[in-house]
């Protein structure tokens, strides 16, 4: 039972709550759990309060809720700025607003918050797969707004949904025009919060187990489209961050990077390609080993030859690159660099590996190539195993791996190899990145997934420069020539591509990937250049900003003309029926004789008066009057009456 003085039920609350829940959905994995739970609790409470007629929260409680949640969000994120903290804050504000929703205006504010949450979800993630959900939520939110503002409480939901759909369909062409023609100004206008959320991808630190964890993800890392020949699988080394600092277990990028840039000479044919990176929240731009030229001015090359973007890559980003697989990197090695790439921890860990390195050095003095060769032979000949599920390693990780477990993934081999090389006095470093890629015949590009993540080594050989050595290739050459599936034991779970997937399913997957690629290229990366290209294809010579502005203004004007015309047509009065139209014709003709019907004069009375005043027309008018009366008021008008009335009206000569 409702309390007698309870506030009346507020219209559209259920729809608004549903829309808010749908808009919060994409954020649930990203905001702290307590935020989601609090919102759900408030939604449930508000809904019950509406049903039962409970009183709403008093002002002091609402103030406390707002203050506490602001402090809590600030405590969690140390800021209220940025997408992460911003969405958590918005969700809490929606909850606080729900505590006091009394009027349709309050509900509208929640509708606005829902839309803003959807917007934040799009800022975070631009993938095609989440689009149906977001569009559905945006639609649900619009329905909720319509429901809140419908005047009659009993309008059926089906009706409201249909009306909203009509509105959205009418808005869609305008939205498309704005999307295509609204000028895209390059560059950020104010600082973008560089803190961004952790994403799947390479890190600037590598601990044994990291790369194999990453390899368990079938997500796409990037796609590469080659202008010309696609390189062979064993050439597809995609260079990522280079790691120099070793603490006995993990590898890291050095923090201060003031080393001289090495001289690189390229030989052989250039490989030109475009790479489209999925957002990975880091600065590095994956490039085929070794990049020689790039079009973007914001991209620089670090001292260890990795390409770096000026900002973390938080959106899908594309780069046009040129690489050469035949190169000489570095004429000489700076002393600081040499020290760094020979350094090993001095705490006595991995003593057996260090001893192995010293032993190699003693046997091949001044011949680093022989040291490298002997180490690779050891991997090849001794029972080393390539597996995605290596045993856990304790403190002396390298020793344990090299001499006890002998089971590891690429990072174990790269790490152990590099440690032994350093112990043998050969400057060496770990390069992380990706190796391989799957060709997608539907889109004509290479898909590189997280499961293609890889780690290898580079050693410094006097006179030859930095040389890539991939110890994994010695253990599991199938990994390099084919892919992960070919290299690991048959009973290991392999991500991304199902081992026994049917060919049809593989085709479907590749097709879907091609659709995603199209989405990334054409929609997510649509920019000023794409706009000019579009105008160019539409026949505008030398398109510029002015042409774009004119096109936008012109098409908007055209849209509004069409819309107004459509609405006028939709609300048009129904056409007069035939007797009515013929009577109008009679009135028009008699006006020439100075006769107009009076305000209260009916059609029959008017014609009667005309008969009296225009005796010459009396006979025709009398016919017209009788036929009209028969058609309008008669019990059963004859079928040819209308025809005769038309004839009579036509024969009326004034």
């Amino acid at each position: 039972m409702r309390e007698p003085n309870a506030p009346s039920r507020i219209r559209g609350l259920d729809w608004v709550l549903a829309a808010l829940a749908a808009a919060v959905g994409p954020h649930v994995p990203h905001v702290p759990a307590w935020v989601t739970l609090l919102l759900l609790a408030v939604c449930a409470w508000r809904w019950t309060a509406d049903l039962r007629g409970w009183r709403l929260a008093p002002l002091p409680l609402r103030v406390v809720v707002v203050l506490v949640s602001t402090v809590a969000v600030f405590g969690t994120y140390r800021t209220l700025n940025g997408i992460e903290a911003g969405t958590a804050f918005l969700v809490l504000m929606a909850a606080a607003k729900l505590l006091e929703t009394r009027t349709s205006r309050d509900l509208t504010v929640i509708v606005f918050i829902s839309w803003f949450l959807l917007y934040a979800a799009l800022l975070r993630e631009q993938s095609l797969s989440q689009l149906p959900w977001l569009l559905g939520s945006a639609f649900l939110t619009a329905v909720a707004l319509m429901r809140v503002h419908a005047s009659s409480a009993q309008a059926p939901a089906r009706h409201i949904v249909r009306r909203t759909l009509q509105l959205l369909l009418q808005a869609a062409p305008l939205a498309a025009l704005l999307f295509l023609l609204f000028p895209r100004l390059p560059g950020p206008f104010w600082g973008i919060d560089s803190r961004s959320e952790a994403r799947t991808g390479l890190d600037d630190e590598m601990t044994p187990g990291d790369v194999s964890d990453l390899s368990a993800s079938g997500e796409v890392a990037f796609r590469a489209r080659f202008f010309g020949v696609t390189p062979r699988p064993e050439q597809r080394y995609w260079r990522g961050p280079v790691l120099h600092e070793f603490d006995g277990r993990s590898w890291r990028r050095p923090s201060a990077q003031s080393f001289p840039q090495p001289q690189v000479t390229f030989r052989g044919p250039a490989i030109r390609y475009q790479i489209t990176l999925q957002p990975h929240a880091r600065r590095w731009v994956l490039a085929l080993d070794l990049p020689s030229a790039w079009s973007e001015r914001e991209v620089t090359q670090s001292f260890d030859l990795t390409l770096l973007s000026a900002r973390p890559i938080n959106n899908v980003a594309a780069f046009e690159l040129t690489s050469h697989s035949d190169y000489t990197a570095g004429q000489s090695l700076a002393e600081s660099m040499r020290r760094k790439d020979l350094a090993l921890p001095r705490d006595g860990t991995n003593a057996r590996s260090v001893a192995l390195g010293r032993n190699l050095a003693a046997r091949h003095v001044g011949n680093p190539r022989a040291i490298v060769g002997e180490m690779l032979t050891m991997f090849r000949q001794q029972p080393f195993e390539y597996t995605m599920q290596p045993p856990r390693l304790a403190d002396n990780a390298v020793d344990e791996f090299l001499f006890t477990t002998r089971k590891g993934f690429c990072e174990h081999y790269a790490s152990a190899f590099t440690v032994v090389m350093r112990a043998a006095g050969v400057p060496a470093r770990v390069v992380t990145g990706y190796q391989g890629g799957e060709f997608n015949p539907f889109g004509g590009y290479l898909i590189v997934r997280q499961s293609d993540a890889h780690a290898w080594s580079e050693v410094w050989i006097e006179g030859r420069g930095w040389m890539r050595v991939d110890p994994t290739a010695a253990v599991a050459p199938e990994r390099i020539r084919g892919s992960l599936i070919d290299a690991v034991a048959e009973d290991e779970p392999v991500p991304g591509r199902l081992r026994d997937a049917s060919p049809i399913w593989l085709q479907v997957e590749l097709g879907w990937d091609a659709v995603n690629d199209f989405w990334n290229q054409r929609v997510v990366r649509f920019d000023a250049q794409s706009q000019f290209d579009l105008l160019d294809r539409l026949g505008v010579d030398d398109p510029d900003w002015r042409a774009l502005g004119l096109g936008l203004a012109g098409s908007l004007a055209a849209f509004f003309v069409v819309l107004s015309t459509y609405l006028a047509w939709r609300y048009r009065p129904p056409p007069r029926d035939w007797p009515g139209r013929l009577h109008d014709a009679v009135i028009a003709r008699l006006r020439k004789r100075g006769l107009t019907p009076g305000p209260a004069e009916g059609p029959v009375a008017f014609i009667e008066r005309a008969e009296r005043e225009c005796p010459d027309l009396a006979r025709t008018l009398a016919d017209i009057r009788k036929l009209y009366a028969a058609l309008r008021y008669g019990p059963a008008p004859r079928t040819d009456d209308l025809q005769r009335l038309k004839h009579a009206v036509n024969s009326l000569r004034v």
Binding site: F112, L123, S151, L174, R184, G187, F189, F560, Y571
Partner: protein
């Protein structure tokens, strides 16, 4: 500061009202809301919506985020489309006065209006009233090709004619982001009757016995039969016993010698101010009607002969209401 803003706003509103009045002129019944006279502006919510979209636009351009921009453009378009719909909902509605219902000073007069349209599309959420966001505004949903009644209420403050000078028909359908409105300056007026005086003074009684000659006069003495109940009959005369027997509502008719008949004369109340006299006459008229008594009304320059019934009562009340009221110079 706030007062300054409020003053400024009031001034702008006054100016706008005067401008609209000059632009449109007075309306004649029926009033068709043509496109040219429909104004449209964003509501407060619409302004908030615009601000939100502007923030989204800036953010989307700053982050070069096409999908954020896409959502922004979709919402911008949705807002602009609803603007056109708000306008279309109002354009083509026709209004006419059904009845101007009089009332006593101190209560209200009412104007029953009919809203109609000929299109095949419903026009929901029309609002009729005197100011925006007034809780007293009436809402109406017009069904396709249908009509709806709406009643506007004005307080009857002074005796005489109460003019309905101006009212507003508006809608913020479908999203409440834009409000389209049309101002109507109709030539409608309703009569405000004088406020009935307290029951203090008994009316001067003139009892006449004219036998059957005064056929219209009905007395209170001799029961003369029953006739079907008519609206306006005194409840005291209802034959409740007949009703209780299930034979329907009837009014007892009396005739005969002792017909009570009054002559309510303005001049008999010498010594009272004009308004008090009218209020007293009003009270007498009401009481006489209530008791089923006949009465005549004499005002300087007006004389209404003895009669009974609701029409007579209304005629007398109107005469009282309009006594000595200068006909306002209206176009």
């Amino acid at each position: 500061m706030r007062r300054l803003l409020r003053d400024l706003r009031a001034r702008i509103e006054r100016r706008a009202r005067a401008w609209i009045r000059r632009r449109q002129g007075a309306d004649t019944d029926p009033v068709a809301l043509r496109r040219q006279r429909i104004y449209i502006l964003p509501t407060r919510l619409g302004v908030a919506y615009g601000a939100m979209l502007f923030a989204m636009l800036l953010g989307g351009m700053n982050y070069n985020n096409n999908l954020g921009l896409g959502l922004t453009f979709l919402l911008v378009s949705l807002g602009l489309v609803t603007m056109h719909h708000a306008h279309g909902t109002l354009a083509g509605v026709q209004l006419r006065l059904l009845e101007a219902i009089p009332g006593f000073v101190g209560s209200d007069v009412r104007f029953r209006l009919l809203l109609e349209h000929a299109s095949n599309v419903a026009r929901p959420a029309l609002e009729i009233g005197f100011a925006r966001d007034d809780p007293g505004n009436v809402t109406a949903d017009l069904p396709p090709r249908g009509s709806r009644e709406a009643t506007l209420v004005l307080p009857a403050q002074r005796r005489g004619r109460v003019e309905l000078e101006r009212f507003v028909v508006s809608t913020s359908h479908p999203f409440g982001l834009f409000r389209a409105w049309a101002v109507v300056h109709p030539a409608y007026s309703a009569i405000a009757w004088p406020r009935p005086a307290e029951r203090a003074m008994t009316p001067p009684l003139t009892a006449t016995d004219t036998g059957g000659a005064q056929s219209g006069a009905i007395g209170a003495e001799d029961f003369a039969g029953l006739r079907p109940f008519q609206a306006g009959d005194s409840l005291r005369r209802v034959a409740w016993k007949t009703y209780a027997r299930g034979q329907g509502l009837h009014t007892k008719q009396f005739a005969g010698t002792d017909v009570v008949s009054h002559i309510f004369d303005y001049d008999s109340l010498a010594g009272l101010p004009v308004e008090s006299r009218l209020e007293q006459l009003c009270r007498w008229v009401l009481d006489a009607q209530e008791h089923g008594e006949a009465f005549a009304l004499r005002l300087p320059g007006t004389s209404i002969e003895t009669n009974v019934g609701p029409a007579h009562r209304e005629r007398c009340l109107n005469a009282l209401a309009l006594f000595d009221v200068p006909e306002t110079a209206r176009a």
